[in-house]
């Protein structure tokens, strides 16, 4: 087995056992990241990664992550390492500080080898909105990897790194994880500091791990959670994230979200998810259908709240302190208009306009205000559901990976890619996607979610199911 086929946990064990070194691991992955047939990466920093790996190999006491390589979504600020958020607006931008979650992983001994491609400012579900070209799905290079964290998903599926970081606003970790056949987790809102995560929609954005095993996702998560004095919305984390080991689901009550198992979900996706749900009883759990009466309003609610927040969050890109700056503007207004017209792509502009409108005087109550009220109703739906069940399950994405260009002409069809993930995001709940089978040769993701702070139980459930499913498919052409 090649080094790059090992899970992160196995790589750490191999380093600890003296069978390999951080330098060796980093070099093996760097080669694949630099070749990058899938356009997973926007930047690869060989020198920085190798020098850090050398440093770690020289330490008397090995840090917990032992110098295993990682890739970071380009939405996360990394000091001196170009960070663009997939936008022309930030072409060549070198941040002056590192995001808290990244700094925590580096302190734990992770070695960053590069920054991954994404939909511009995390706005998209296919990574086609990147200003630097789309990322290709390692399972089929004519298809998208999902998005917005498409590069972070594809690089893990393609064995360019064992794990990576993404960010999830309405499904941007879970949906690409599903489309790339890997594990992707969005923790409870507030679990991981957002300091340094380039904001899309502040009340929804969360950082989370991509990995090929549930245990790797848990390990990465365990080094990031907890209060950060730089993020007022980050939470104290009293119960540490444990490495999951469950093999059974005795006594577990799984609620299947009825609204997300019917129309609008591809039959192949439904079948793969259903066959996994059918395993629950054999593992000692029970399955009950649950209803989320307001989930149907999730998409509309999300497309008011997220663009509204984005319209303010992206206002700072004015070409004055950093980033793209229009040349030769005569007056201030012209400077703003041209800088932003040139720097932002069409989807970003569309959402800024949507959000600006939703917040405008005279429309606020009908749009943003109403959306906040519906968001509260959706939260209540989940609270009621969790009175009866421990976790809820649904497909992660209504379809498997779609073809490049298939949905770019129709924003609404693209928005529908996130119909299963968005209600959970609006409720701020922890949720993950695990690969549960193939449909026409493409991976299908099963989404699990639980009440706030139920990360440990979710990971245990996902671990038991992962073993039962035994998903061992590898995308063609990535094994070399």
């Amino acid at each position: 087995m090649a080094l790059f086929d090992l899970s992160a946990e196995q790589q750490i064990a191999a380093v600890v056992a003296g069978e390999t070194s951080s330098v060796e691991l980093v070099a093996a992955h760097l080669a694949r990241a630099e070749r990058d047939e899938w356009n997973s990466f926007l930047a690869v920093d060989r020198e920085r990664a190798l020098s850090r790996a050398k440093e770690i190999d020289g330490l008397a006491v090995r840090p917990p992550l032992a110098g295993v390589p990682i890739a970071i979504k380009d939405a996360l600020s990394t000091r001196d390492l170009v960070t663009t958020a997939g936008s022309k607006m930030l072409e060549g931008f070198r941040p002056i500080y590192t995001a808290t979650c990244v700094a925590r992983l580096e302190a734990a001994g992770a070695v960053i080898i590069g920054k991954t491609n994404m939909d511009e400012f995390a706005m998209g579900s296919s990574t086609e909105n990147s200003a630097y070209g789309p990322t290709l799905n390692p399972w089929d290079i004519t298809r998208v990897p999902g998005g917005s964290s498409g590069g972070s998903a594809s690089c893990v599926a393609a064995r360019q790194v064992p794990w990576s970081l993404g960010s999830d606003t309405g499904g941007s970790i879970r949906q690409p994880a599903a489309l790339c056949g890997i594990v992707g987790m969005k923790p409870t809102y507030g679990a991981i500091s957002r300091y340094g995560l380039i904001a899309f929609a502040s009340s929804l954005d969360q950082v989370g791990p991509f990995a090929r095993t549930v245990r790797d996702a848990a390990l990465l998560l365990s080094h990031m959670v907890g209060r950060d004095p730089m993020d007022a919305t980050s939470l104290e984390w009293t119960e540490p994230i444990r490495m999951p080991s469950a093999t059974r689901l005795d006594g577990l009550r799984v609620g299947v979200i009825e609204e997300l198992m019917g129309d609008g979900i591809d039959p192949g996706v439904r079948a793969a998810c259903q066959s996994t749900i059918d395993m629950v009883e054999g593992l000692g759990g029970t399955v009950v259908p649950i209803a989320l009466p307001h989930a149907g309003y999730g998409l509309a609610t999300y497309y008011l709240i997220a663009p509204a927040e984005a319209s303010a969050n992206l206002a700072r890109f004015d070409g004055i302190r950093y980033g793209h700056c229009a040349a030769d503007a005569d007056v201030l207004l012209e400077h703003y208009e041209r800088t932003r017209a040139e720097g932002f792509g069409p989807e970003v502009k569309r959402r800024i306009m949507l959000g600006t409108f939703a917040l405008s005087s005279g429309y606020y109550d009908a749009y943003y205000g109403q959306a906040q009220r519906v968001r509260t109703l959706i939260m209540r739906d989940f609270a009621q559901a969790f009175a009866d069940v421990d976790v809820v399950a649904s497909p992660t994405s209504p379809s498997t990976a779609f073809r490049l260009g298939e949905r770019t002409a129709d924003p609404l069809s693209m928005y529908l890619s996130d119909i299963c993930t968005i209600p959970i995001s609006l409720a701020g709940l922890p949720s993950l996607s695990i690969p549960c089978g193939l449909s026409d040769g493409l991976p299908v993701g099963l989404q699990l979610a639980g009440p706030a702070f139920s990360e440990n139980r979710l990971l245990e459930v996902a671990h038991a199911l992962e073993l039962a499913i035994g998903f061992d498919h590898v995308p063609q052409g990535v094994g070399q």
Partner: protein, 485 residues
Amino acid sequence: MSDVQWEAVIGIEIHAQLLTATKMFCGCALSFGDPANTHTCPVCLAHPGALPVVNAEAIRLAVIAGHALGCEIPERSVFSRKNYFYPDLPKAYQISQFDEPICGPGRFRYLTEDGEKFLGITRAHLEEDAAKLNHFGGEGRRADALGSVVDFNRGGTPLLEIVTEPELHNGTDAAAFLKQLRQTLVHLGITDGSMEQGSMRADANISIRPLGVTTLGTKTELKNMNSFTFLERGIAAEIERQIGIVESGGTVTQETLHYEPATGHISSLRSKEEAHDYRYFPEPDLVPVVPDRGWVDEIRAALPELPVDRRDRWMREYELTFEDAEVLSEPAALGDYFEQVAADAPPKSAANWVRGDLRAFLRERGQEPWESDVAPGAVAQIIRMVEAREISMPSAKQVLAHIVAHGGDPKEVVASLGLGAIQDESALIAIVDELIAANPAQAAQLREGKEKLVGFFVGQAMKATQGRADPGRIGELVRERVAAS
């Protein structure tokens, strides 16, 4: 039309920079006058991914201010984003408060020569200041500048914005209110209150209506008047302008105005049509502020005596005039000094000495009483000696001047300078008799009833005794001896 009586209706908005050590939403130091852009960080430069965190000290100062303004402190308050593009606003939104401010409705008591008055406080909320634009080339104004550069040192400075009800009717009361509001905030350590340096700024919303009408007319907003005098004059000028417009058949348009103190000219900054839609919405990067009720009550209980209450007490208990109380209350250290003197001497005299000769003598040396070596006890002792007629008033001034210059104990200074009042009655009689003999013409006129000449003899006697005689007693003796001679 000209027989219509007009009433002006005025509300004030005050921005006060808070005396915190660091900025409102980041850890950068508040420091003025340092080289440009030396107090900045990813947060106050609005770098991608940076997040605000509320300064707890700013919350504490706002709660103190709220209590002093007689405001409710609501169970929770919320920060909101106020969106607009300008180079001095790096996030392109100002974090402010909108519908849930830190301080709710209140009522502020202030004193005028006509007695105490109250002004309703609508609210007070926290927000961050913008950065400073420096225009270079031309006259330093934006209009004729070659270019503009941004200094972000000031950006993110905590501001408390206080909004009053439209309950004022003239510039004089507005200035009196603002003066005492400033005094209160400075006294409580909330702001340094410097209007010249812009750490306290006031805008006035002004409208007029026929006396007796209860609805409000169209208002204009007069911006940034940086002294009490300018506020008073600016308001008066704007009221006059509005009356002029209406009486000549026009209508007042809603607009933002600039008052130019040098010329008294009022010019338009922007009209209502150009007003921004700020698209306020709750700041998702911050959680609501929910102050602990016990803590809020503790702050209220620990509030020191407010300047208005102190002045009121002086006027009631010490029988000081409105003006004495006003002068002695500012700054608070002067009031403290005065109270120490008044503790050991009649307060009325203490007021006169402290605000009068003591301050005047010290000012020549560039000092103020509270920072000088002149002990309040020494001043009190001098006053007591005068009251006991142990020294004359002119001698007392000499003693004080000596102590200001050289220090020392009043009794010892009196002795060493030989300034003790001449208590020996026969010595005084001898002096008076000598003067009568030397000035027969004046003595004759006095005898004929020219009372004014008593003063002449007293003056001569004071000169002869180098001020050590009691002028009252001399006057009595002059009358007796002239009549007898």
